[in-house]
């Protein structure tokens, strides 16, 4: 029986579009983050905090990904930040093509920072490059400190891990030491921040790091 050799990546098309995105971002000096977490870890709240601190000094835009509703985009629009909502209608992750269509509506020549809030999911978005500079994975103290071990791919591909809701530490069985140990066993290169979007603790370090990156 004849064999036709293919030998190519299944997600090559997505990778190619991600490379196009990366080139456009780089040409226009736009620093891009892909923000990832399970539902309810505080991605949008972290965004609100980050935007309120950076929006005066930098031109920022946001792409919101959700399975349904434009609730998150509405929360961002209130801050006078350009935002596009992608509703995936059941899709569990954002793909490079969706992001490419979304950022066309921004004034990209005058943009410094683009933050893409991915669909809340710790599995599927790990496989899809969007053209971002860094992947930031967020997890909160109400989720369990073994999460990196349960979702290793996500923590392996991420560059930064943010532990959110540290103001709740005294009420939950969550060990910051364990979560760090678990995450670093999967990815020794991870940059880690401990924050509370509620009290503002640790936000300063995160913003300092981000400003330095841009």
């Amino acid at each position: 029986m004849p064999i036709v050799t293919v030998e190519r990546k299944i997600l090559k098309k997505n990778d190619e579009i991600a490379s196009e995105n990366r080139e456009i971002f780089s040409k226009n000096n736009i620093y891009t983050l892909n923000l990832l977490s399970s539902p309810g870890s505080g991605k949008t709240t972290l965004l609100e905090k980050t935007l309120s601190l950076l929006n005066k000094s930098l031109n920022v835009a946001v792409v919101e990904g959700d399975v349904q509703t434009d609730n998150d985009a509405q929360r961002i629009a209130v801050l006078n930040v350009p935002v596009v909502q992608i509703v995936t209608n059941g899709g569990c992750h954002l793909e490079a093509k969706l992001v490419q269509s979304a950022f066309q509506s921004f004034d990209i020549k005058n943009l410094d920072l683009l933050i893409i809030e991915n669909v809340g999911n710790l599995v599927c978005p790990a496989s899809y490059d969007l053209g971002e500079n860094k992947k930031v994975v967020l997890l909160s103290t109400t989720e369990g400190d073994d999460k990196p071990l349960k979702y290793p791919s996500m923590f392996r591909v991420s560059d930064v891990m943010i532990i959110n809701k540290i103001d709740l530490l005294e009420y939950v069985d969550f060990s910051v030491e364990s979560v760090k140990k678990n995450a670093l066993s999967i990815n020794p290169e991870l940059k880690i921040f401990e924050i509370s979007c509620k009290t503002g603790e640790g936000i300063e370090d995160w913003i300092k790091w981000l400003k330095n990156e841009i």
């Binding site: 064999i3 036709v4 030998e7 990546k9 299944i10 997600l11 098309k13 599927c124 066993s185 999967i186």
Partner: protein, 113 residues
Amino acid sequence: MHEMSIAQSIVDIVNDTLAENEKSKLKEVAVDIGEMVAVVPESLQFCYEAIVQETEYHNAVLNINVIPLKIKCNNCNIESKIEKYAFLCPKCESTNINVISGEELNIRYLEVD
């Protein structure tokens, strides 16, 4: 459940490859799926079958080869399989390692008639 989107990408590549090679009868599609890419082979199989049942090659088999997660230690030069996603050398416990397999998501070949 991104297996549906991955199955669709496989079928897109199959269609392109069949057209390029002027073939229409497909018997088998062979793919490599690394342990690290969070794709469930059973789900992928299910999604693939759902997509191809509407096509001319609805009997074509998806052959999934699961690739184990392996590293090479830069300290002691030994290749090892990684268990429980602990990314360090099981021999010398160095974290200075390179992943050599387990991150594949590749389509290898088609068997055609």
